[in-house]
Homo-oligomer: 457 residues x 2
Amino acid sequence: MKEKPGIPKGTRDFDPLEISRREHIFDTIREVYRLHGFRPIETPAMENLSTLMGKYGEEGDRLIFRILNSGDFTAKVDDKDWKDKNAARLSAQLSEKALRYDLTVPFARYVVQHQNDITFPFKRYQIQPVWRADRPQKGRYREFFQCDADVIGSDSLVNEAEFLQIIDKVFSQLNLDVVILINNREILAGLAEYIGFADHMTDITTAIDKMDKIGLEGVGQDLIDRGLTNDAVEKLKPVLELSGTNKQKIEVLSQILASSPVGMKGIEEIQEVLDIVDVTPLQCSLELDLCLARGLNYYTGAIIEVKALEVPMGSICGGGRYDDLTRVFGLKGVSGVGISFGADRIYDVMQALSRFPDGIGTYTHLLAINFGPKERDYCLPALENLRSVGVQCEMYPEPAKVKKQMQYADKNKIPFVLMAGEEEINKGVFSFRDMQSGEQQQLMLEQISTFLLKFLD
Amino acid sequence: MKEKPGIPKGTRDFDPLEISRREHIFDTIREVYRLHGFRPIETPAMENLSTLMGKYGEEGDRLIFRILNSGDFTAKVDDKDWKDKNAARLSAQLSEKALRYDLTVPFARYVVQHQNDITFPFKRYQIQPVWRADRPQKGRYREFFQCDADVIGSDSLVNEAEFLQIIDKVFSQLNLDVVILINNREILAGLAEYIGFADHMTDITTAIDKMDKIGLEGVGQDLIDRGLTNDAVEKLKPVLELSGTNKQKIEVLSQILASSPVGMKGIEEIQEVLDIVDVTPLQCSLELDLCLARGLNYYTGAIIEVKALEVPMGSICGGGRYDDLTRVFGLKGVSGVGISFGADRIYDVMQALSRFPDGIGTYTHLLAINFGPKERDYCLPALENLRSVGVQCEMYPEPAKVKKQMQYADKNKIPFVLMAGEEEINKGVFSFRDMQSGEQQQLMLEQISTFLLKFLD
């Protein structure tokens, strides 16, 4: 029986055009990371299950793809769990390994495992796929790429400012208009103090995080449901609605949070980051957004999020400062700050705006038409010569009908075609055709080479 | 409890130096593939289990990493199999997906699934990791990269010749001495006829494939154990021992196989491939090796293998022509030919020979010493200026002791350091230090920029 070929739900094949577009995004991010002194690492697709479990909350644990143990995986299973068909208890016995769920936890594991070989501060980037057993839907995949950079082992706010520069550079090079939103968890902690609910920090950040979806009134109701008083919520609302320039917002906040040391520290930090950034001003706008909370609980200082301005599409980049990410693996007191670009969402934004540069998706620059062995052997050395200067070229493998060979060039977006018959061979030239204009002329190899080098430049 | 961090057996972390070396190999292979008109595709890490099962033999099936189904994976399991703890029967019920085992089967699946969007002949390359639950040992990993290229939908021997050119170019650019061994399955079929055991083709190729390990006598004994007669084996031995130039071997073979149509076809094919290759001669040696059989049963024509000449290390690249790879997925009569570079083994060879180019592993070109806010803000615009022309540079985030900052430059192999104190700021210059020579001079930013661009070129 023939199998009907397909791939698992939520996964994707990428064809040459898609790859070239994705590479454009990855290359841009990678290049900017390197310009700022970040170094790459890679970690295995599989981690020990124990490395991943308990790091992403209950929901996350459920969404981790587990690898079934090899060999007789039933041998060491607990008899009672087996009898009860207790999937929850069995899964840890049937699998020791799992696919990585993000790049942050493997990075924390890497830092602890290799701490003696690492020079701190450690600036690393990592561009690799991750896997989540999430319900697939538009824009959400079970295999997708993350593009992370982190500085670990440095408290300096120079790092925060550098990440803003990196974000600005990446999106400017991708030709996308964005706004960078920043906030600081310490300011949020100060606000929690200010409204008398310092012990409700998680509730407050979780609620504020939903501002985009449920609006200010919704957030207010959610906070009341979480045990805040009406008075506290009414006190918080105008702060969340603060408008104006960053300077104006900071002035108001400085009055509100004057009696909160943690809040004032957050303000000072934001101010210092803004001051450092101002030394080499950004191209995009940078906005202090008091409604920015970011759900992840491990953030402790600056938080950052980037939104595309031309297309509605959640966050396309985010990050922040965290303390003690490595503590769970036994290394304490190491502060870090990092960002992550969402390559798949950036792809969708660029696609929607037709923002991919011309020429992307062109692989072969020149196709040599195959008229038969004699003509082929006349062309082959010419192709080798062109390759030696970087021209991507190919000989059509069979002496098929010229129309078929021309169609091959067309379908594969090959811009130029080389032909040589009796006449060209006798003259020592080649017919060189521009597929777009249809223009064709007889040229010496050196002329073709010069022309193509100019074309590629 | 702190967890002791580690990674699964047979997997690896890669640090920045290793990444730069691996990238050197991948980039070289990728660039040569592109120079010859190959286009990239990528497939998901996970395939449906049914796509992979039965394609790699019994041994292969056992070595496929399976993904445990998400949710209540016990719900749909057969009661009797569960009671019996029958791992073999249960594994297919507990998992629907598996990690890809090679790039060939996913490629065949891809071609069939997307056949209406593909222009044939389809020249694709694919550089991605694969996973095998093999017993880890020196040079054998459970996660490793394959670098494949195939032409599918073309019978022309121009393709075989092109792959030899590609192999030659890759190893020449990697500065490795290699020999390419070629043979043809039809010649082996002719030899099977010649010794009267045409129906024992698989036995014969399987035995010959072990020549490296067990020698000629061992192969002879193995063939007798597989049912060949003593006479047949004695008739075969001198052919396997044939020496001399390719031309001489072909002459002898032409006499021996004169009455075997399939054998003569194999000889003609080899001859044609050699003739096409001779049009643009190779740098490495190319040897007709009658002992080359290659274990994989799907090969039907040319077979290719590459050995490093300076280090003992099995095959570092291999390939051949196959027919009907896509038949199992419902697409018949599509011939293909392909090769695969073993990046991990090539890495080991290059490492053993210290053949990685100088400068590999250098990421940051220049570190700016941080003396404090004022000096930092004087340097930051200079760094941005250098980045705009492609210099990778970073500011040390804290105003730490200069010795510590210098050590950071040393440990990270940063070749140049930038410093500016009161004096430099007043003069509008920078102190620029060559870390290797220790030379230091005061320069204008433009001078530094010019110098670094020359250095990077």
